[in-house]
């Protein structure tokens, strides 16, 4: 492997569209988030994901990556709802975040998932996207308290 700066690495932060009501296990957290970069050659590589939780809820969650943002997955703070056919045709990977992944920093908590090297198909027509499935019972103090940053190579 040759290391060479390629300027293909992108980082995108998403303030998740959550609310301040309590979440239940298997609820959708926010909405589907589309990565803005599209790959002309067919793939992006998810390298790392960082989570800023301003309410220190330290909620476990599953981050599901799909090939397009046009998939219906339900509504925020309600039971996840993605049809089998959609999941089967668009899902290309997932990342689990556990409560133990979080570290407390002042009034917030943070978590990072590193060395992911997750390949997600992309094209000039399709932007890969992701959504969050709650695996805890967090209650956030504000609707802007959950920020997810995804870093990825556009190949």
């Amino acid at each position: 492997m040759r290391l060479q700066a390629s300027e293909k690495l992108k980082s995108t932060s998403f303030t998740m569209a959550i609310n301040t009501a309590i979440y239940a296990v298997d609820d959708l957290m926010g909405t589907v988030c589309a990565l803005p970069a599209k790959s002309p050659t067919g793939v992006i590589v998810i390298e790392s994901i960082s989570i800023l939780d301003k309410s220190s809820q330290n909620s476990p969650m599953v981050i599901v990556f799909i090939t397009t943002s046009t998939v219906g997955v339900g509504t925020n703070n309600s039971n996840i709802s993605i049809p089998d056919a959609s999941l089967r045709s668009t899902c290309r990977g997932c990342v689990a975040v556990s409560a133990g992944d979080y570290k407390s920093i002042a009034a917030s908590s943070v978590a990072s998932k590193l060395n992911l090297n997750m390949l997600i198909p992309s094209s000039n027509d399709l932007s890969p996207a992701f959504f969050l499935i709650c695996k805890g019972t967090p209650t956030y103090g504000a609707a802007t308290d959950l920020v997810v940053t995804v870093s990825y190579y556009v190949e």
Binding site: G42, S81, R88, C91, G93, L119
Partner: protein, 174 residues
């Protein structure tokens, strides 16, 4: 001096036609999948991957979508060419030593712990993702059109539909 390596990413969606009876550990799941067709970014199945005889393949990632959340451990057996498998779906995997010696190039295991599952409005679903696989092999120099993968069950799942399982193999072609 080194030869330049040109990698092409691709992902193949394998849809093993499963049966609805309970599987046992060691059973074959579906039939042997042929990686001659690929799933493009749009999800459409079709289109041969252009490749010369004896091309190289690096398996990078495996994604299993289980629409029944059975979360079955399984082994994926990779072969560098068409391979004769004596067994059938939902019966003990049976392949001769000679076939294994001729074509087997590697195995990738999916464990029950690799799955993330949930119960949503449409029922239970799960996904397993294994990254950084790094299984590389050269296909046979003969003009074989594809390479193959067979799935060996390592759990006891019971699926409710014949298309409850989809396996995506992400790979580079060189």
């Amino acid at each position: 001096m080194y030869a330049e390596i040109v990698n092409y990413y691709n992902v193949a969606g394998i849809i093993p036609t499963v049966s609805l009876g309970a599987y046992s550990s060691g059973d074959q799941i579906g039939t042997t999948g042929s990686i001659a067709t690929n799933v493009g970014a749009g999800g459409a199945i079709g289109g041969l991957i252009a490749k010369p005889p004896g091309y190289g393949v690096s398996i990078m990632q495996i994604t299993v979508v289980d629409l029944d959340a059975q979360n079955a451990a399984m082994d994926l057996l990779f072969f560098n060419a068409a391979t004769t498998i004596a067994s059938t779906d939902n019966n003990p995997m049976d392949i001769s030593d000679a076939e294994m010696a001729a074509h087997f190039v590697g195995i990738v295991s999916i464990s029950g712990a690799d799955y993330q599952s949930w119960t949503g409005a449409v029922g239970s679903q799960s996904i397993a993702t294994v990254t950084n696989v790094g299984l590389s092999f050269q296909c046979t120099p003969a003009n074989t059109p594809d390479w193959r993968v067979s799935i060996v069950c390592r759990g006891t799942p019971t699926y409710t539909a014949t298309d409850s399982l989809r396996v995506y193999v992400h790979f580079l072609v060189d």
